[in-house]
């Protein structure tokens, strides 16, 4: 019972043309058999009417039937094989097309089909080849575009890095200049005036000099404030943590918000200048945004310095905003873009989470490559 079923199944999985041919041949064989039966019956009737003895009729029919069966079987076998052969040649272009499509789908864009003659299948093959040519061309163009984009992006990053470095260097220079030169000169002025004041007896003149001295003193304080604002010397001389502490204190006092700074640090070693500057500027920008937009009461600044990366989180409980809807030209967007760029330049990740009424949180994670643990740093999964 199973065998014919199997054969039927195998027919079903054969190419379409084979199915058709085998069905036709099966019909032919069955018809042949019916015709033979009919002929035999007719032959017997005719012979009987001619009064030919029954034995002779039977033996003639037996010989005839045998020959007919053998001929039918042989013809069927030849027919099936012929049909299979014809089917193979008829379906070859279609199979070729299917094979080539598969290759293209898998990414081998050089796959083409060979066409013969001018029939419909040949036309289909030619059209297919044209389509493959176009796909190949467009893909090459797209790849070239992507390459160019990547090159541009790299140039942009390098330029940005230069701009940021140049800006920091300039700030350091001006801050130092104000601190060391202008500050010293003003101090000299104050001391000179003090000296003059002590030597003069005329109360009017003493008063005038004293006022000048106060003016110089106020100016000196202003110069100092300006220098710290540009670039706090603490950041370079002592470190990131005291610099952020100082900045937070000034901001908390000036804008009456509660800023809590929490540091977790395994390794007391200082971070690289680039990383320290970036983190300091991000805190600065983050707090500036909070004061400008957030209307926050509570602010947390969290710094978690690990062996392989440093995480900075700035969170406020202010009004929040829809991160997706900040216009590109808005100040706030530029501020966020600036923080993001600084992070990305150091191969870090930058995330901002906020929604109206939920406050805002900035997450910055910068990978560290410290001496001695470089290998571990390289193996570690990217920050994020």
């Amino acid at each position: 019972m199973r065998r014919p079923l199997k054969i039927l199944m195998s027919i079903n999985s054969n190419p379409f043309a084979v199915k058709v041919v085998i069905t036709v041949i099966a019909f032919a064989a069955v018809s042949c058999f019916i015709v033979m039966l009919e002929l035999t019956r007719h032959f017997r009737e005719v012979m009987t009417s001619l009064n030919i003895p029954k034995e002779i009729i039977d033996s003639s029919i037996a010989v005839f039937s045998q020959q007919l069966v053998i001929t039918t079987v042989i013809l069927t076998i030849i027919g099936v094989n012929g049909a299979l052969l014809v089917a193979y040649f008829v379906t070859k272009p279609i199979r070729d097309l299917a094979e080539a499509s598969k290759k293209i789908a898998q990414g081998d864009l050089s796959a083409r089909v060979t066409t013969w003659g001018h029939d419909e299948l040949a036309k289909l093959g030619q059209t297919f080849n044209q389509m493959a040519d176009s796909i190949e061309k467009f893909t090459a163009e797209r790849e070239a575009l992507v390459k160019e984009l990547m090159r541009n992006e790299q140039t942009r990053q390098e330029l940005l890095k230069k701009v940021i470095t140049a800006q920091e260097d300039e700030r350091i220079r001006i801050s130092r200049e104000l601190h060391d030169e202008t500050g010293q000169s003003l101090t000299s002025l104050i001391i000179g005036l003090k000296l003059l004041e002590d030597e003069i007896n005329d109360p009017k003149q003493v008063q005038a000099i004293s006022e000048l001295r106060n003016l110089a003193s106020t100016t000196l304080k202003e110069v100092h404030r300006l220098a710290v604002e540009l670039r706090p010397t603490v950041l370079d001389d002592i470190g990131l943590i005291p610099a952020i502490e100082r900045f937070n204190q000034t901001y908390a006092r000036n804008y009456n918000i509660d800023i809590d700074f929490h540091v977790q640090q395994k390794n007391k070693e200082r971070l690289s200048g680039e990383v320290e500057t970036a983190l300091y500027r991000i805190v600065q920008e983050g707090l500036t945004n909070i004061v400008k937009y957030a209307k926050a009461k509570n602010v947390s600044v969290l710094l978690d310095i690990r062996d392989t990366c440093v995480k900075l989180i700035v969170e406020d409980d202010g009004v929040g905003f829809d991160v997706e809807k900040v216009g590109y030209a808005e100040d706030r967007h530029l501020g966020i873009a600036g923080m993001k760029e600084r992070t990305l330049l150091l191969n870090g990740s930058f995330t901002i989470e906020s929604s109206p009424g939920q406050g805002t949180t900035i997450y910055v994670c910068i990978p560290l490559q410290r001496s001695g643990i470089n290998e571990i740093a390289n193996q570690a999964p990217p920050c994020g």
């Binding site: 500050g183 010293q184 000299s188 001391i191 005291p242």
Partner: protein, 215 residues
């Protein structure tokens, strides 16, 4: 009659040094015995002149004031008085660690300096009053009211708290716990209510104190 206080001026700014020299010499109990414009020169002059007090600037080309201070304390008995523009308590802290006897801001040189020199000569310590105040403030960390460690956090809230303390974003927490970001936000709000705090930093401290995360 007490002998005058012998003082060495160390500052890279020539005009400032000459002004200071005139100002100090105008006081009869102070005498400027020498000047130096860098840390290195100061160390040589100290060996040679044996001053009672060294008036030292912090920012100088070459050996800066902080390094010079350490070296001076190694080689001599001289007391060191910092005269500087740096109005950050961090510098003061560092200088105090290295054994400074006084810290005066250049901004207040005209009013405080003479007094400071006299006090230091007497063995006292003189620190700029504003800075001293900041230093004291920065050293005082009021222990925030200890949160009750049994704050009835649910298991889910404990998981969220731990992930927040580790610095994960709400989105990351949502993905880890297979819940929505909104749910993470409401867990966070509830945790803050339960442990009675207003800031993320306080949550992190709570998590540290109660062993949810390790230092």
């Amino acid at each position: 009659m007490k002998s005058p206080i012998k003082l060495l001026l160390v500052d890279d700014h020539t005009v400032l040094r000459s002004g200071l020299r005139m100002l100090l010499n105008s006081h009869k109990d102070i005498v400027v015995v020498g000047e130096a414009e860098s840390g290195e020169e100061a160390l040589e002059k100290i060996k040679e002149l044996k001053p009672d007090i060294v008036l030292l600037d912090i920012s100088m080309p070459g050996m800066g004031g902080m390094t010079a201070l350490q070296k001076i304390k190694e080689i001599s008995e001289a007391k060191v008085l910092m005269l500087t523009m740096h109005a950050d308590e961090e510098y003061l802290k560092e200088a105090l660690e290295f054994g400074v006897s006084g810290y005066v801001l250049k901004q207040a040189a005209d009013t405080e300096l003479i007094q400071a020199i006299k006090e230091v000569a007497n063995g006292q310590v003189h620190v700029d009053s504003g800075l001293a105040q900041n230093l004291v403030k920065s050293m005082y960390h009021p222990s925030k009211q200890k949160n009750d460690s049994d704050s009835n956090l649910t298991d889910r809230e404990k998981e969220v708290l731990k992930l927040i303390a580790l610095g994960h974003t709400n989105k990351e927490i949502a993905e880890t716990l297979m819940i929505s970001v909104k749910t993470v936000e409401s867990h966070k709000t509830r945790i803050m209510e339960k442990i009675n705090c207003q800031k993320r930093s306080e949550m992190v401290r709570y998590a540290l104190e109660n062993g949810y995360i390790n230092t």
